[in-house]
């Protein structure tokens, strides 16, 4: 099966979806967990996480050992809107 190229926006969508649907505990998802689930490198993920926290789409929680991330209410709204617009673009055979 051919590998599918993911756009920057679809990676963000995957990260937000992971923090919303697949967090291992209530404190959020760790960077290691997100790397594995969202399938992105550490350096790229770090930059994206920083942006998402700045934009208020993710909340950063500090536990005993590491930073964890969980989706904010604004992030949930964004994810819902993103999925709607992705459907729209998909209809044209395009990716956002």
């Amino acid at each position: 099966m051919a590998a599918t190229y993911r756009t920057h926006m679809s990676i963000i969508g995957d990260i937000l979806a992971t923090t919303r649907d697949e967090v291992p505990d209530e404190s959020g998802a760790s960077v290691t967990y997100l790397i594995r689930k969202a399938n992105v490198s550490y350096s790229r993920l770090s930059k994206i996480l920083e942006t998402l926290v700045q934009q208020g789409l993710l909340e950063q929680t500090t536990s005993e050992r590491a930073c964890k991330y969980r989706i904010s209410e604004r992030g949930r709204e964004f994810l819902q809107a993103y999925r709607g617009f992705r459907e729209f673009a998909d209809s044209f055979g395009l990716r956002i």
Binding site: F88, S91, I96
Partner: protein, 211 residues
């Protein structure tokens, strides 16, 4: 009567194009996606193109009281619409403008040669090729994702292509109903493009554009 219907259909095309453009713009503002930005330009151009023809006809007939409407209005409107069709095709990534096959070239090239020196003919033939390209790419996407909404988009682009083709012929047979059918077909095409939007909840959310 025919003139009124043509004007009304053009104004309807203006509205439909504008709504599609606004939706794509909201998507672009929310996600910063370049694809939605291109679709935004495409639909605004298509809508404005219809609007130029519709409002141009209205202005010349009812305000300036011209007996015969200037042809340049039609040419300008179609030219603006072509920009829109280009951006739809461009979003799919134009690999080559003409098919490589000699057989297909023999079909495509006359679209440019037959029109001769008329700018309107040339613009219409370019629009037709861009729309056919977009239709084929969308059908190929449907083969991959099997989404029903993709079929509507393919049908919409196909109808727009047919509308352009009929519009091109209507210049050859100016007194026929071909132009009216052409505009109606294009409106039906825009309507089909509108269907995917009905499945998306319109939201007024605003996010930063630097994501």
């Amino acid at each position: 009567m025919e003139f009124v219907l043509e004007t009304a259909l053009n104004l309807l095309g203006f509205l439909v194009g504008l709504v599609l453009g606004i939706f794509a713009y909201i998507g672009f503002k929310n996600t910063g996606s370049p694809t939605l930005f291109r679709l935004n330009i495409a639909f605004f151009s298509i809508g404005i193109g219809f609007g130029v023809v519709g409002f141009g006809y209205l202005t010349e007939s009812f305000i300036l009281n011209y007996v015969k409407v200037d042809m340049w209005i039609q040419t300008l409107g179609i030219g603006i619409q072509t920009i829109g069709y280009f951006f739809i095709a461009f979003s799919h990534g134009i690999k080559s403008f003409f098919p490589k096959s000699r057989y297909f070239k023999s079909i495509a090239v006359p679209l440019f040669i037959i029109p001769g020196n008329s700018i309107e003919h040339i613009i219409r033939s370019i629009s037709f090729i861009l729309l056919v390209y977009g239709t084929i790419e969308t059908i190929m996407s449907y083969m991959e994702n099997r989404k029903k909404s993709t079929i509507f988009v393919a049908a919409g682009l196909g109808l727009l292509a047919m509308g352009e083709f009929l519009g091109w012929y209507s210049v050859v047979f100016p007194q026929s109903v071909l132009y009216f059918i052409s505009i109606s077909t294009k409106i039906a095409g825009l309507g089909a493009l509108f269907i995917p939007i009905s499945q998306v909840p319109l939201r007024g959310v605003r996010f930063g554009s630097n994501i």
